[in-house]
């Protein structure tokens, strides 16, 4: 493991890769800060650029963007009470009241230190857990993988979209349908191409991500007459107060950080749970741990109330990499985008990645840590300047997002058809978003589609067409029981439970 860490450090600390982490963190912070544009949009916009780099550098850039966007989301939560992503909603409960009390700088510093500490502890867990889990997951077979993928999809549908389980499942099926377009991987038989050569290679992953996130987000903002930068006009973004944290406050954070990190990491590893649930759970847990006097301060600018969700959401971000790196199965929309990017580089994440591409495996882990250091050293002092992006009017912001989306596809294919297809998917996604149909399950399903079909093919061929592979192995049986429980519970909760 030490050798691996050194390989990772050597790769991550090269001049080019360090520069990429910095650029990624900076760009991610700017994009993540804009309400509505979260890590998925940020990473999606970066993918076309990364294809010019080697896989390790590209992934390092994306890891930087990921952490930068999460940090940026916290910043807008604290400064303007407009969380960039759901994972930072709990941050605004105490962060925004602190900002209103003239302690915006302090709130940002507490958020940054907590994120850093949470990320550090989670990165250590990841260092320990990932190689061990990789070895364990080598014993997994096709039926287990197939079951795990269905579990991932149902869990994301169940937990990431409250009360919209059936809508989320419909989006999963739509994602799988889109993934099935193009030639069959084994027989090369064209499917759903309607005799169009443009579809014979299937639909590009970047196209779907850009259309369903960046482009449809921009169109939704216009359609709903939202102004993501409106709240920023009401506050001073240049005078944020001191970023110094007192000894007393440090002591309070020191109690909160370890427990929130552990909780965040565990929740992050679970498929579908992710940063949002982790941050809310940590907030709730912290409220139960503190004294009655401190409990009164929750919601009014409590240091621990701010530190807990920030620690947990960052720890969950690292935790989400565990199933991606060890099983090759993403547990969230963001890690699904990362998986799509990895596949684009010709890398198949999974238990063998640890052995076949150790430099990528370890450099991603190490660059995540370096990314957090960069955020703390560079972004925190620069926040008063970066926060000015919140004042950019939407008349400039929206065309820029659309421009980057179209350019991204143009650079990849030099094909009008892809641009038109992207616009078409974006329009449909905008209508679906209007009626609360969630997009992350669609992306996750689109990325997993090919792998799911491949594992189902193997399982059915091995069992000679019998579906008994779903209960033959104890592990597969456990996974299938979990799926049945989740689906039944969600349907019951959605339609038969009063509250």
């Amino acid at each position: 493991m030490i050798e691996g860490i050194l390989i990772g450090l050597k790769t991550a600390l090269s001049f080019q890769n360090l520069l990429m982490v910095m650029i990624g963190c900076f760009a991610g912070t700017i994009i993540g800060m804009l309400p509505g544009l979260g890590p998925m949009t940020a990473i999606a916009l970066m993918i076309p650029i990364t294809y010019g780099f080697d896989p390790a550098t590209g992934l390092i850039l994306m890891a930087g963007v990921y952490y930068g966007a999460v940090f940026g989301g916290s910043t807008s939560s604290i400064l303007i009470n407009a969380p960039g992503v759901p994972g930072t909603v709990a941050t605004s409960f105490d962060g925004y009241p602190m900002a209103q009390q003239g302690k915006a700088g302090k709130a940002l510093a507490i958020a940054a230190y907590s994120s850093f500490a949470g990320g550090t502890i989670a990165a250590i867990f990841l260092l320990i857990a990932a190689p061990s889990l990789s070895k364990v997951s080598l014993s997994f077979r096709s039926p287990d993988y197939f079951g795990l993928m269905i579990l991932g999809l149902t869990a994301v549908a169940a937990f990431s979209s409250k009360g919209n389980f059936l809508k989320a499942m419909m989006m999963c099926v739509l994602g799988l349908m889109l993934a099935s377009v193009g030639q069959d991987t084994l027989s090369d038989i064209p499917r759903f191409t309607f005799n169009t050569m443009n579809l014979s290679d299937g639909i590009s992953f970047v196209l779907v991500v850009m259309a369903t996130f960046a482009m449809s987000e921009a169109l939704t903002i216009i359609l709903k007459k939202n102004d993501p930068t409106k709240a920023a006009k009401q506050i001073s973004l240049t005078d944020l107060g001191s970023i110094k944290v007192s000894k007393e406050e440090t002591k309070q954070m020191a109690k909160t950080i370890p427990r929130s990190s552990i909780l965040g990491f565990i929740v992050g590893v679970l498929p579908g749970a992710g940063a949002t649930i982790a941050s809310f759970l940590a907030y709730g847990m912290e409220r139960n741990f503190v004294s009655d006097e401190e409990k009164e301060k929750f919601g009014k600018g409590s240091v621990q109330g701010l530190s807990a969700p920030e620690t947990a959401n960052n720890a969950a971000c690292s935790g989400a990499f565990v199933p991606l790196l060890t099983l090759g199965i993403p547990g969230s929309g963001t890690t699904a985008v990362m998986l799509g990017a990895l596949l684009g580089f010709g890398i198949q994440p999974g238990p063998r990645l640890y052995e076949t591409n150790p430099e990528i495996f370890w450099s991603v882990i190490m660059s995540m840590y370096i990314g957090m250091v960069v955020l703390l050293i560079l972004n925190l002092p620069l926040i008063p300047y970066i926060a000015r992006i919140l004042a950019v009017p939407r008349t400039f912001l929206i065309p820029m997002i659309l421009f980057f989306s179209v350019t991204g596809i143009y650079l990849m294919s030099f094909n009008n058809f892809d641009i038109f297809l992207m616009i078409g998917i974006a329009v449909v996604a905008t209508i679906l978003r209007l009626y609360d149909f969630p997009m992350p399950p669609l992306i996750l399903a689109f990325v997993l589609g090919g792998l799911m079909e491949e594992n189902l093919r193997r399982s059915l061929l091995i069992s000679d067409g019998s579906w008994s592979f779903l209960w033959d192995r104890p592990l597969t049986l456990c996974i299938m029981i979990s799926i049945i429980i989740i689906v039944s519970w969600q349907i019951y909760k959605s339609f038969f439970q009063k509250n």
Partner: protein, 156 residues
């Protein structure tokens, strides 16, 4: 059962799934693969049924919290103008070239969204695209097709 927009979308999804299922059945597989436990149309057929199942459930089961979207609160005109501008941009980018089509796309988009400060409109279109092209093409060596600039002799 009360009909609302979500139910209509679900119904459309049901029809799409049915069409998908029909098309999946039409996939021509190799003769020796016809009776195999798994062939090119097996997975799509299951997907078609799954889509119909979930859409059917959404149509039949009652909506606990129906979403009502008031069309008068939506900005259709600007959204449609932007989509049309994007389509024109997509149609011209290969023929006219990256620089001119992108710059014009940005100018029109800013204008349609209500921006009237021409100084900023110009700065964030033509010079912005030129810098972007330089970064991509000049520094990162990413190929950018631009017949117009090539004809003028600015781009190699």
């Amino acid at each position: 059962m009360k009909i609302n927009s979500v139910k209509i979308i679900s119904l459309l999804f049901f029809v799409l799934s049915a069409f998908y299922l029909y098309t999946a059945h039409q996939i021509q597989v190799f003769a020796f693969d016809e009776g195999a436990p798994f062939n090119a149309k097996t997975f799509p057929i299951y997907l078609g049924y799954a889509g119909m199942f979930f859409a059917g459930l959404k149509i039949v089961l009652p909506d606990r919290k129906p979403i009502e979207v008031n069309p008068t609160h939506l900005e259709f005109k600007k959204t449609i103008l932007l989509v049309v501008t994007m389509i024109i941009y997509g149609a011209t980018i290969l023929k006219v070239g990256f620089f001119l089509s992108t710059s014009l796309f940005l100018v029109f988009s800013y204008y349609f969204l209500g921006e009237r400060r021409w100084k900023y409109i110009i700065i964030f279109s033509f010079p912005f695209v030129a810098i972007f092209m330089y970064l991509l093409h000049g520094l990162l060596a990413v190929y950018l097709r631009d017949p117009l600039l090539k004809y003028i002799g600015i781009m190699g």
